[in-house]
């Protein structure tokens, strides 16, 4: 699904965010990306949805080489990759339904299909009854559920999450994690950068630890390994 070989990322300001990264993530895996702040977790995530290009090496996502992907075709890649952020990134002026439908509208999906799919995912995240509300009328956890609903509404093969529980209290975080597990059980690959020690140590999955731009640990059913 995701295959990085010899990936190095240098930013124009001279910072080397990643160097010599080799990693393969198979379809259906659930992977935590852990490591200190500034270690390169976010860059790793950004390479997958082609927010950044590698300086050298190859990044293959679902058979597409993002490094040589033409600008014009970036939208095609984005449609295969769902993305979830710490700050939700919902559009404040659109209601919940519209925020989720948005992801299907931009790919010019049939209106009947849009309606059906949006109601399905809103049901999955348990917020069907709040479809007409605005994001600001929802709690942080609920907003993150909506962001997750949007990320999966077009059935992507992989969902990338950058600190999805970073802004949420512990109870809400567990709810969000259960949601990610449900999505993963349906066959979707999950790649999640996180600082949440409790979650990583409880829901035991593959852990990739990045320090100073290098992968220092890659264990199936790993542990967080840092003091929180």
């Amino acid at each position: 699904m995701i295959d990085m070989q010899g990936v190095t990322k240098k930013y124009p300001n001279g910072v080397t965010a990643l160097s010599g990264v080799n990693v393969t993530i198979k379809q259906g895996e659930f992977v935590y990306i852990v490591g200190p702040s500034g270690a390169g977790k976010s860059t790793f995530i950004k390479l997958i949805y082609r927010e950044e290009k590698p300086s050298s090496g190859t990044v293959m996502v679902g058979g597409i080489n993002t490094a040589s992907l033409k600008q014009r075709l970036v939208p095609a890649l984005r449609r295969k990759v769902g993305v979830v952020f710490q700050d939700f990134k919902l559009l404040p002026l659109l209601n919940i339904y519209e925020n989720v439908a948005f992801a299907l509208e931009v790919i010019e999906e049939d209106p009947a299909v849009i309606r059906k799919r949006v109601m399905e995912v809103l049901d999955l995240v348990g917020l069907k009854h709040k479809a007409r509300m605005l994001p600001t009328e929802l709690s942080g956890g609920e907003q993150q559920r909506i962001a997750i609903a949007r990320s999966i509404v077009n059935n992507p093969k992989v969902v990338i999450a950058d600190e999805p529980t970073g802004n949420l209290d512990p109870d809400t975080s567990w709810d969000i994690m259960r949601l990610f597990e449900t999505i993963n059980e349906r066959g979707t690959t999950i790649v999640m950068a996180t600082h949440n020690k409790d979650i990583v140590n409880t829901i035991r999955r593959r852990v990739i630890a990045i320090e100073n731009g290098r992968i220092v640990r890659d264990e199936l059913r790993g542990e967080y390994g840092y003091e929180a």
């Binding site: 014009r72 075709l73 990134k89 948005f102 992801a103 931009v106 949007r150």
Partner: protein, 302 residues
């Protein structure tokens, strides 16, 4: 696997863009108001200035068109020779029309202008028979006069030497200054409007970012913004167009009455308002769309 992104737009998508552009105008109410106001103010200035410039240009052209060559015909010239001279003048490329005025007519005109004292000259008319020559382009008058002087039956060709050249160079300068001012005003208008739209789009860069994240193509993102620019331009043009349509109606009447005795003629209501309205609409639509286009481009980072 088909990983291409379709570039041709479905009718449904076009409808969606229209709907979206209207929704966005409403959702961003104050931003819309600011942009529309910017269009209104600058278009109003441009419109008023345009009306004044067009009228000044019309008056100047009228004065220029009054310039003519008066060809004094030698006294001993026969009728046949006069016909020949007329033909010679008409054959000049610059000349548009030639009219004959006998010395009796000339005297009559003089008497009408100057008073009955001049009837004294009826005993012995000192005037010449005259051909009054109009050139197609007023600027060619001096050239035509010089050529006509060469003809054997011409006593003299008079055209207000010196004064006419001064008038032409004055009009030329005035037109150039006017053009520069209009261009400057339009440039300022575009700059102001594109900046206003840039601010409104800056406030919505998050929207663009999210659209890109979920896989929208750049044109899909651009379309609603361009349509919004179009509506902003059109909305902004309503007040200036209406104000100038009403204002010129009264201004033209008032000015015509006041200047009628000076033989100054303003452009009629319909002949001015129709082209000015169309021009203002074109400008409004163009700056609206153009302002949106260059502003949204910055946030698409292509």
């Amino acid at each position: 696997m088909n990983c291409g992104v379709s570039t041709d737009m479905k009718p449904r998508t076009l409808r969606r863009h229209f709907r979206e552009s209207f929704k966005n105008l409403r959702r961003n109410g104050w931003m819309t108001f600011a942009s529309v106001s910017a269009v209104t103010v600058t278009l109003m200035l441009t419109g008023i200035f345009l009306v004044i410039m067009l009228n000044l240009n019309k008056i100047g052209t009228d004065i220029e068109n009054d310039v003519e060559v008066r060809v004094h015909v030698k006294l001993e010239t026969t009728e046949a020779e006069k016909d020949q001279l007329k033909a010679q003048i008409e054959n000049l490329p610059e000349v548009e029309g030639v009219e004959y005025s006998s010395k009796e007519q000339e005297l009559q005109n003089l008497i009408n202008d100057m008073g009955s004292d001049y009837t004294l000259f009826e005993q012995s008319n000192p005037l010449y028979d005259v051909f009054i020559v109009k050139t197609a382009r007023p600027q060619d008058t001096p050239d035509a006069a010089r050529k006509i002087e060469q003809f054997s039956q011409t006593e003299k060709a008079v055209y207000g030497e010196g004064k006419v050249e001064n008038l032409f160079s004055f009009m030329k300068t005035a037109r150039n200054i006017g053009m520069i001012l209009v261009a400057g005003l339009l440039f300022t208008a575009m700059f102001l409007i594109s900046n206003t739209i840039k601010i409104t789009i800056f406030a919505r860069r998050k929207e663009i970012e999210i659209m890109k994240l979920v896989g929208a193509t750049n044109w899909f993102i651009r379309w609603p913004f361009l349509l919004e620019g179009l509506w902003i331009g059109l909305l902004g043009s309503i007040i200036p167009i209406a104000a100038i349509a009403v204002g010129y109606y009264y201004a033209e009447q008032e000015a015509s009455e006041r200047f009628a005795s000076h033989f100054i003629d303003f452009i009629g209501y319909i002949p001015l308002i129709v082209p000015v309205t169309l021009l203002m609409l074109v400008i409004a639509v163009f700056i609206g769309i153009w302002g949106s286009f260059i502003s949204v481009r910055r946030f698409l980072n292509v």
